[in-house]
Symmetry: C2
Subunit: 220 residues, 2 copies
Amino acid sequence: MEVLVPFSTDRPKSRLSAVLDPDERKAFARAMLRDVLDAVRAADGDPRVLATGPVEADLACPVDVDERPLTDAVNAALDARVDDSPEDATPVAVVMADLALATPEALRELFAAGREADVAIAPGRGGGTNAFVASHPAFRVDYHGASYLDHRRIAAEVGASVAVVDSHRLATDVDEPADLAELLIHAEADEGSGGRAARWLRDAGFALDATEGRVGVERE
Amino acid sequence: MEVLVPFSTDRPKSRLSAVLDPDERKAFARAMLRDVLDAVRAADGDPRVLATGPVEADLACPVDVDERPLTDAVNAALDARVDDSPEDATPVAVVMADLALATPEALRELFAAGREADVAIAPGRGGGTNAFVASHPAFRVDYHGASYLDHRRIAAEVGASVAVVDSHRLATDVDEPADLAELLIHAEADEGSGGRAARWLRDAGFALDATEGRVGVERE
């Protein structure tokens, strides 16, 4: 399955500005992107990065540059791919580049759901759409606001069947400082593996801080 | 499968004190408990509430009262249940009472994982242990701090095999104001069903607020 991975090259991860400077945010975003691409490949997906500008790194996969906002870029990509008749529509997946916790197992479940239903969605915490698979020719995205609810509505309007993928790993987009804890927790639980993004955080001095209710992060 | 549901009757949901007064927190906590019990029953589990004091409501299931802290009460319950030889150990589940998003499907997956592995854990966001199933006679809990990591360590120390259940719904314990949004999002996505807790919130004037990055809640 072709898997588009939208990636912002200009000002990535601005909501992490309280804990990471601009260069760090770029490096961290790139580490997460690589983790996502690895997981997609391990789940037998064919990744293709949909970047807002040139990516200064060898990602070992095609990179399409589209400067437009996320919604427009993804819809243009869907136009080019799922414009066939419903009968022979090929599913295409869109997986966000900040799902550093994504495992091949979780992605496989998403891809399988997207082969059964016209649209399969993995909702993000806070109402986002962290990943989806669409084969319905009329389904298009709108990432503004509570996009998960909008995408459910859009799918209903065009008569597309919907499957919802219930995954904590796919629900966790790494956007805010509290999300960094999630990355370190699961990297530590699975014995320090955890991919490039978790290693990058540890190398940058981040560690878990269990002194308050939910576990957070502290930096040396 | 017997499913213990720990429930605090004295000062439930204190981290929601910024948005709910004490009586509201009690009523909301009870609505969530009822949702969890419904989901457990629909997943063919036999729920039993493990309360810190008498529950003033007919929950249509047994209620054991144990005034001790959560860790001690759960360990006493495990002592009484999984103290057999490993060969004929019967799995017992412990599911937190604030998992108002729990679906029968997610719980069925947890129970199935707990029949295969010695310990099956559904981690919560922030490193908690929102639900688990244990059949290993030596596994005991410690809910302080990052309990998911502690429980992985404890399981490894006693030689228990571990399965991790990846579920956004089981990962979402409703503890803080931002978690209320999660409850309303998924209730709205599934066409206003969403159980008693979501209805309670709507009746109390809460609605989704999509004006910032992640969707939050506002109250009339």
